[in-house]
Structure formats: C-alpha cells, structure tokens
C-alpha cells in the first residue's frame, strides 16, 4: 500500500479506550494486518551470518515453516536469558500494571491497538513466563495471567515485537524503570532462533557483516560516492575537499552510518562532515571496512550486535589511529555508549588508541576515556566554543529550525545539549517543540529499530504521528520549516512522514547546517547551499 492510499481521517479515527464489552486480550487472537508489519526475511540473509532456519516464508501465510521443536527452542532460550539478564528476569516479575506507560508509546498513540501499550506488549511475553516458570501460573493458568505458548501466541509475539521501536520512552515513566526495549531485544533474539526476522533487518545485517555497511556498498563504490560529493561541494563552495580512505597512521578514524553516503538528505550531512574536516585540516581517515556506524545487529541479538560492532575497534587498531570520531546516528550511539566497551574493548588491546584529545582545541574528551570514541556534535560544539570555526549563521536564515532528539542518544546516553548548542550557533532561527515531546520525553520517528521499510507504511505513519504532530505545532506557531536531527534513520524516515503529516517541513542533519554556515578558506561567493537552493538574499543570483 502506498502512502497516498491511506487517508489521514482513517488513521485519526481511533479510540484509545477499549470498550467495556471488548473480549479480554488473552482471548483475542492476533490479527496480522498488511502495512502494519515488515516482510519476512529471505533465507540468503540468514545464511550469511549462520542464523537458524533459513527458508522462504511469508508473514501472511498460515504456515511459517518453523522447525519441529520450535517450542522447546523458545523455552530453552527463555530459561537461558532469565539466567543471563537481570533486567529480563526482574522485568518479568515486578510489573504492577499501574498503566503509567500505557499512553506513552507512539505506536499505541498512533494505532490505539491495546497490545501496543508497553505494559501489554510485555504481558504477551510475561504470560508465557508465568505459565512456564512460576508456581502461580502453573497452578492457576489464566486466572494468574498465564497462558501456554502456542502457534498463535508466537505469531502475536512476532507481530508486536516488530511494532516496538526499542525507543525506551516507556522506561522513563515506569516507576521501576522497566524497559520495553530490553524485553523487545530479548524477545526478538528468541524469534531469531526460529528464523523469524524481517528482511529490512536481516538484509542490512548480512550486508554489514560482509561489506562493512548496511547498504552493501563495496569499497570502490563507497569511494566513488564520496568522490561524487567532492564534485558537488566544489560546485557549491569552490573548494575541493580531499577525503582519505583506509589510511594507516591517521590520527582519527571517522565512522558514520552508511545511510549518510547513500540518500538525501543524509548525503548533505555527509558533505557537511567532509567540509568540516577539510576546513580544519584534521588528520582523519574514512574506512570502507568499518563503513557503518549503525548496528542492525542490535535488532536481532546481542551476539550479532557484537559481531558487527567489532569492526570499529579492529579497524582502529589496524590503521593505528589514536581515537575514533562517530557521526550522527541514533541507535549507533546506544551501542557505542552502553554496549561497545563491554563487548569489544578486548579487540583494542595492543592498538594505538589513547584518550581522545581534539587536535584543534586541545580539549580532552574525558567522558570517552574508555571507549575512545567521540560524538561529532561533542567535537563540533567544542570547536565552536573555542572559536575555531568561522561561521555566518545568516546563511541559514531561510531555515526555521526545530530539533528532534533521537530516542537512543536521548534516553541511552543523554546527548541533549551538544546538538542544540551547535544548531544555535549556526542558525538564527531555532524553536523547541513542546517539552513533553523532546529531550528524555522525545518520540520515535516511527521507523526505529529496523522498522523503516516501505511495506509497513501505515505502521510508520501511525507511529510517527506524535512526532509529526509536535512538528506541526511549531510549524504553525513559529513557521518552522526544517526538522534537524542527529540520526540517519530519522533522515530516512522523516521526509516521508513530514510529507504525509506536515508537508511544509523538510529534514536535515545537524552538520548540513554547520557546513552551510561555515565560511571556508578560499571559497567562492556562495549563492546556494548544499541542496543547491538559493541562500537568503541570493534568490536572483545568476547561477541559481
């Protein structure tokens, strides 16, 4: 189904309060609807990374072609994870169903499907836990909120586990910090043992494993894509930037999501990085092997996340760099902040990595002393603070900007002020969305955790509604026409979402705004920005 076939009135005609006479959720079998889920994974993807049960299957089919002993597999996996993750065990035990999380999930707000209330999504799994691992559940069954795992329940798990974007918004409001994202991660880990994944996740994982990035861009192609950007940049600024690749002995390794080299508007952000590095003259290299900042492994299993993430340290060691600079990406920074050091710091043993220091300002990034990896907005904010960039924010005067906090940098890191500081220094017009929709209370774009496919467009338009609604608010109040963010998935998802709900608003990465405001050494008289749109006051210039 295409976006324009879905009517807004239909999406908005929903009721969040289940009626008194509605059957209980345990007696309501899952109704798998097209456009609310992603396509099944293709077998070739699973084979690349040795995942179980590769076969052709389809979500809408009755038979999902599971292995014969699937129930045993799930139960063993369940038990194993209860023993290995305190979060999982605790979150199965202590929920009191107070309902504080119920109306906090963007997928529930947008769909009103009660099983998308985080509490109930977790109960889908908890009910099976009670039946199999608690005395009350074994004795009293349904009365104790317990039920057996059967084919229908498994399908229900799958359907709703892939309608959760692991954004952690519910965990902020939960009085015990129960984190649905963690339950989803482990739930998806279990479905993956049966070969139940979606292609939009399985394909990037397979690509990333072999070629180094989610999009499967091979080394020569990666280089030529950046060369294309060199030409574009030269056309706009008159300056020829010279990125280097896989260069041993560089001081810094730069890793960014491959979405940035692939499609607009991410490409302009990518050009922004290139312009920044060139102007600074920093000794930095790109890598075609560690050419992915994001980590779709996180959306399949902890082990797969570790396998994909390893490239960052292995490449840093091989090239002999002193530290790593990371681009604008959402879940990448959850992995880098909360998992990377724990999982893979062993790989950096014997490398030249040292505590990161900005070569331009001498600032020590002490908050990255263990992982040796710095976020680019931390880096750029420091440059601006020390006056190392010549900026003309009026070049962004045609942009009225608001900032969307991406779920993971906000709630799994706390990167809130750095991007705001950067934006406020490169733009004259910045407006915040309402407080209950930003910072730690930010909403998901609707396509996080691998749900940014084309076929689940209704799910994305529904899940993205709360964010779109907040953007619409600042658009109407302040005339905001640009939605800035620090996430490649945002940049992939938002253009479609904005087009649907708030068509007057465009989408940008933060470093596109930075590059547009930068006054470069040897630049020609600029008339257009990186998008080839006229700069303010240059609308009538000749070469537009």
């Amino acid at each position: 189904m295409a976006k324009d076939e879905i009517k807004q009135e239909d999406l908005l005609n929903i009721d969040h309060s289940p009626s008194l006479f509605k059957k209980g959720w345990m007696n309501t079998p899952v109704d798998i609807r097209p456009s609310m889920h992603c396509y099944a994974c293709e077998p070739a993807r699973l084979k690349v990374v040795d995942f179980p049960n590769p076969r052709v299957w389809s979500v809408m089919d009755e038979d999902w072609k599971l292995p014969k002993d699937w129930k045993e597999t799930v139960m063993d996996a369940f038990k194993d994870r209860l023993d290995r993750f305190r979060t999982f065990k605790l979150f199965m035990d202590i929920c009191v169903r107070c309902g504080a999380c119920a109306d906090k999930c963007q997928f529930f707000i947008g769909s009103a499907d009660p099983k998308n209330m985080p509490v109930l999504r977790a109960e889908l799994i908890r009910s099976v836990y009670r039946r199999n691992f608690t005395a009350a559940g074994k004795l009293f069954g349904k009365l104790a909120g317990a039920r057996d795992l059967d084919y229908g329940v498994l399908k229900e798990w799958w359907y709703y586990l892939y309608q959760c974007s692991e954004c952690r918004r519910c965990s902020v409001f939960c009085p015990y910090g129960i984190d649905m994202a963690d339950i989803t991660i482990i739930g998806r880990e279990m479905t993956n043992l049966l070969g139940l994944n979606i292609d939009w996740i399985a394909a990037p994982v397979a690509f990333c494993y072999k070629t180094g990035n989610h999009l499967g861009i091979q080394p020569h192609a990666y280089k030529s894509m950046l060369e294309f950007f060199q030409d574009e940049i030269e056309e706009v600024t008159g300056v020829r930037v010279e990125p280097s690749f896989n260069r041993k002995g560089a001081e810094v390794l730069f890793i960014t999501p491959s979405g940035d080299v692939f499609a607009d508007p991410g490409t302009w952000t990518c050009m922004g990085y290139m312009i920044l590095f060139h102007q600074l003259g920093i000794d930095i290299t790109w890598s075609t092997y560690a050419s992915e900042g994001g980590n779709f492994g996180l959306f399949t299993s902890h082990d797969m996340m570790k396998r994909l993430n390893g490239k960052m340290y292995m490449e840093a060691k091989r090239l002999g760099v002193k530290w790593i600079l990371g681009g604008e990406c959402g879940h990448m920074w959850r992995v880098v902040n909360q998992y990377m050091g724990t999982m893979n710091l062993d790989l950096a043993e014997g490398s030249n990595l040292e505590n990161p220091v900005s070569p331009m300002t001498g600032t020590k990034f002490e908050n990255a002393n263990s992982t040796k990896m710095v976020h680019i907005t931390e880096f750029t904010a420091d440059l601006i603070k020390h006056g190392k960039l010549k900026l003309d924010p009026s070049r962004n005067d045609h942009r009225k900007v608001t900032f969307h906090d991406s779920c993971n940098p906000a709630r799994a890191m706390g990167l809130l002020e750095e991007p705001r500081y950067v934006i406020k220094n490169v733009c004259n017009h910045f407006y915040e969305m309402p407080p209950s929709t930003i910072r730690e209370q930010t909403f998901c774009c609707g396509g996080g955790s691998g749900l940014n496919a084309g076929e689940d467009v209704e799910l994305r338009m529904r899940g993205g509604l709360p964010r779109a609604n907040a953007v619409k608010y600042v658009h109407e109040k302040y005339g905001v026409n640009m939605l800035a963010n620090v996430c490649a998935i945002d940049r992939a998802v938002f253009p479609g979402l904005m087009e649907y709900w708030v068509p007057e608003v465009d989408v940008t990465g933060v470093h596109e705004l930075v590059a547009n405001a930068m006054v470069l050494d040897g630049e020609k008289e600029k008339t257009v920005d990186l998008r080839n749109e006229p700069l303010p006051g240059m609308e009538d210039a000749e070469d537009v």
Binding site: I14, T87, R97, H302, S370
Partner: protein, 337 residues
C-alpha cells in the same frame, strides 16, 4: 481477562478468606490455628520468600549497563551538568544512590506522568497527570504509618516513635477513641486505585485478577481494622496479650477476643504469605532495577559482562581477500598486494 471474571474471582477469593476465618473461629473454635499457627507460618513464608526472590534476582548477572538517561550526560566541562542532571543521568555511585532515594521514597518517575488527550483532527495533547502519583504516595505512606502504628501491639514499652506517629496521625482529636487519619486515607487511596482500574478503559483492559486481589485484600484489612477500632470495640488488652505472646515466642490465646480480630489477622497472614509470590515484590525489586541503579559511565569506565559471549567476526583480511582487485583498481590501499 474479562473484567467481570477478574473482579468476581478476586472479590470471592477475599470474601472466601473472611468466611474461612469466621467459620474457623466462630464455628470450629480454631483460635490457636488462626491466632498462632497461621501467623507464624505466614511470617516465615514472607521472609523466606522475599529473601529467595532477592537472591534469585541478585544471582542473575547484569551483562550491560543500560540506565535510562533522563537528562543531559556529563560531557564537555562547560555544558551544564548540575544537580538535576546528576540525579537523572548519574555518572557515579553517589548520584545513583540519590536517584534511587528519590525513586523509592518520592516515586520520581511516576511524578513525570502525563495523560494523553487525543482529539480529532490531529489534536494530540499531553496533560500533566499527577493523580496516580498522589494516589500511590498516599497509599504507600499511609500503609507504612498504619504498619508502624501496629508496633504498639508487638512492643512493651512502646518505642518513642510509635507514640509520635500516633500523636501526629491522631492530630484532630475530635472523637473518642482518637481517629487516626491514616487508616481512612489508606482506604480512600485503595478505593481510588481500584476505581481507576475499573473505570479507565485502558486500565480495565490490562488488569488481571492478580491486580484486583491485593486491592480487595487491603480493603478487607482496612475495613476489619476500622470496624474493630471504632465500631465493634475489640478487647485491646487481650489482643495485645496474644500479639506480645507471638513476638516473645510464648504464644497464648486469651479468652474473649472477638472473631473480627481473627478475620483481620487471617487476612494479614494471607497478605504476608502472598507477598513474595506476587507483583507485590516490586517493593524489593525496585532496588535492583538496572535501568535505575546504574550510572551512565560506560564510555569512561569499562563495564564487565561476566559471560561476554565469544563470537565470530568478519576480519579485515577476509574483507580484503574478497574485494582486493576492486580496491586496487579504485586506488584504495591494501595490506596484501
């Protein structure tokens, strides 16, 4: 679970408990069973159960440090990282402890609660909603006060703080016997929590018998307690003889204690025994929640995962072997010519 069944089952369960105690004491004269044996068993079950639960959780490793960060991280020195940030995004143990204190004593996360208002035509609002927080605070704190007040039955002489609590709690000395506000606020708070579950469509849909049962149970406790104190005027002297006998392990069952006391005591016993095996364990569990009790310092100090699984990586060498010719043609450096 259907609301009617849930309510009926859990109400009948509590009602059944009342009947059991009534018949047991009034009909069968099993005062020793209900006054001594069951309370002992219940308290033993409570302590063993809670310790078992906590040990089970504590034995489980914390492979990753995944605190929910609810404020700005500690970053560049000039980026504001004040008290509010330290509390909601702590970087060391001291501030984690502070965060936990705020969470456990003040229900900090619940205080953030908002309520969705979904109008037609893309009008979505999030209104402040402190009622749940207020209800929860009122409920838990009055429960605590009532519990502490009961120490007067288990101590001789009474500790000084029990007297202070009684004085404060009975501040409005308008009636005889002194009316303790806590019991009534507790009753009101439980009623609010119950009505909320029944009247709000979302709450009704997610609620299980396991949610109604403890609420009915506590309502039963409050009701029997209030009846005993203000209406039926149970024989306090004899009751204290019994309760003191229990704590000094020289149990006695004095004559003439009214059956309402045994009903109250039986409900308390069942409540204690039920506690460790139900959602009520959130009282202990909240302390162990890894999204709240860990600092966000994983970029500064490595967190160790005790079972860090060995995995297969795709090495650079394997990558270069696959793409070497293409890389050379594109002018990319290679390790092996």
């Amino acid at each position: 679970m259907n609301i009617i069944i849930s309510l009926t089952v859990s109400f009948l369960a509590v009602f059944g408990l009342v009947v059991i105690a009534f018949v047991g004491v009034w009909g069968a004269h099993l005062e020793w069973l209900f006054g001594v044996v069951i309370p002992y068993l219940a308290v033993i079950t409570f302590f063993i159960g809670i310790v078992y639960r906590v040990v089970q959780w504590a034995k489980c490793p914390v492979p990753f440090r995944i605190p929910s960060t609810c404020a700005q991280q500690k970053s560049l020195p000039w980026i504001k990282y004040g008290y509010a940030e330290k509390l909601d995004n702590p970087v060391n143990t001291f501030w984690v402890v502070c965060r936990m204190i705020l969470e456990v004593l003040c229900f900090r996360s619940l205080f953030r609660n908002t309520r969705l208002e979904f109008g037609s035509g893309q009008e979505i609002k999030y209104k402040s909603a402190k009622w749940l927080w207020l209800g929860a605070i009122a409920f838990h704190y009055t429960f605590l006060i009532v519990l502490l007040r009961h120490l007067r039955f288990f101590t001789e002489p009474m500790p000084f703080f029990v007297k202070i609590i009684e004085n404060v709690d009975g501040f409005f000395q308008m009636f005889l016997p002194t009316v303790y506000q806590s019991g009534f606020i507790l009753g009101a708070a439980v009623t609010y929590l119950l009505l909320r579950r029944i009247l709000d469509g979302k709450m009704r849909y997610i609620s299980l018998p396991a949610d109604y049962f403890p609420l009915f149970m506590i309502l039963g406790l409050v009701t029997t307690g209030v009846l005993m104190r203000y209406v039926l005027k149970a024989d306090i002297v004899s009751i204290k003889e019994l309760t003191l006998g229990l704590v000094s392990f020289k149990p006695v069952v004095p004559e003439g204690i009214s059956v309402i006391f045994y009903i109250h005591l039986f409900l308390v016993s069942v409540f204690f025994a039920y506690f460790p095996f139900s959602k009520l364990t959130h009282m202990a569990g909240v302390f162990l929640s890894p999204t709240r009790n860990l600092s966000n310092n994983t970029r500064i100090v490595r967190h160790i995962n005790p079972w860090n699984n060995p995995v297969k990586f795709h090495t650079y060498q394997a990558y270069e072997d696959e793409f070497r010719e293409k890389m050379k043609d594109a002018g990319l450096p290679v390790d092996k010519e």
